[in-house]
């Protein structure tokens, strides 16, 4: 599994310390506390419900999302939004 540490993903969540996580979206790095990570998970789950996705596609086709208590703003098109959902699900999958 060590070789995976050399692979750079476009969207990645890493644990830095006990209560700090690092979210990397393309070249943007954001440090999140656990409650902020939970909030992001909740927002992404709600945005990726079929009806929400349909609404996004019918309108702007992107979302602007505040992250880490409005410290960062993300521009996410549908594929990236789904990638982020997958990364977050993976992060919580092995609870």
């Amino acid at each position: 599994m060590n070789f995976l540490s050399d692979v750079k993903f476009n969207i990645q969540i890493k644990k830095i310390t006990f209560c700090q996580y690092q979210l990397c979206v393309d070249d943007k790095l954001m440090v999140l506390s656990f409650p902020q990570l939970l909030q992001l998970r909740n927002k992404i789950n709600s945005l990726t419900k079929p009806e929400s996705l349909e609404k996004i596609i019918e309108n702007e086709n992107y979302v602007l999302l505040f992250v880490a208590d409005k410290k960062h703003l993300l521009f996410l098109e549908i594929p990236k939004l789904l990638d982020l959902k997958e990364e977050i699900s993976f992060c919580f999958y092995n609870y």
């Binding site: 644990k15 006990f18 789950n45 919580f92 999958y93 092995n94 609870y95």
Partner: protein, 168 residues
């Protein structure tokens, strides 16, 4: 991430989502009872009015219990958005029948979360929900007994029926 997330939260993340939905359901039930209380209040059905004001409070207490449980166990409780509260009723009996249906759907939803918690080995939630299961069985029984009174009293005037109904 296995231990990382577990160190932050005692409850399972997906069970937490279901519990948040349950908060929303309880708060919706509370708002719905408030609408029923208002209908009774306007018609001077004093016992029913009091009963539904209390029910509204009780449902809110249930929601708050779950709300605190999620946060106490490292999760994130979400304050729900309450929509589509019905304020139109046909009769007092209709109100109590709707209430029983509402209680049954709340019970069913709790059963589902209980099963989910068991499946995910989330014992903390399982134990927590046991109180709700007992509570729901009492709630359902309460409404069934009231509907029995309606059946027994047949076509008696509404005010007379109301006087024989419990206040809590």
């Amino acid at each position: 991430m296995k231990t990382a997330i577990r160190k932050q939260m005692t409850i399972h993340p997906e069970v937490m989502d279901s519990l948040n939905n349950q908060i929303s359901m309880e708060m919706h039930a509370s708002a719905s009872y408030l609408a029923m209380a208002s209908w009774c209040d306007q018609r001077e059905l004093l016992n029913s009015k009091e009963f539904f004001y209390k029910q509204a409070e009780e449902e809110r207490e249930h929601a708050m219990k779950i709300f605190a449980f999620i946060n106490d166990n490292g999760g994130a409780s979400i304050s729900p958005e309450i929509q589509n509260v019905n304020n139109d009723f046909e009769s007092l009996r209709d109100i109590y029948e709707t209430s029983l249906e509402q209680e049954i759907s709340v019970t069913e939803s709790i059963f589902k979360i209980f099963k989910q918690a068991r499946k995910e080995d989330d014992f903390t939630t399982e134990i927590f929900l046991q109180w709700f299961i007992t509570e729901q069985s009492e709630e359902e029984d309460k409404f069934r007994s009231i509907l029995d009174i309606f059946d027994l009293m047949g076509d008696m005037p509404l005010k007379m029926i109301d006087e024989r109904l419990p206040k809590d």
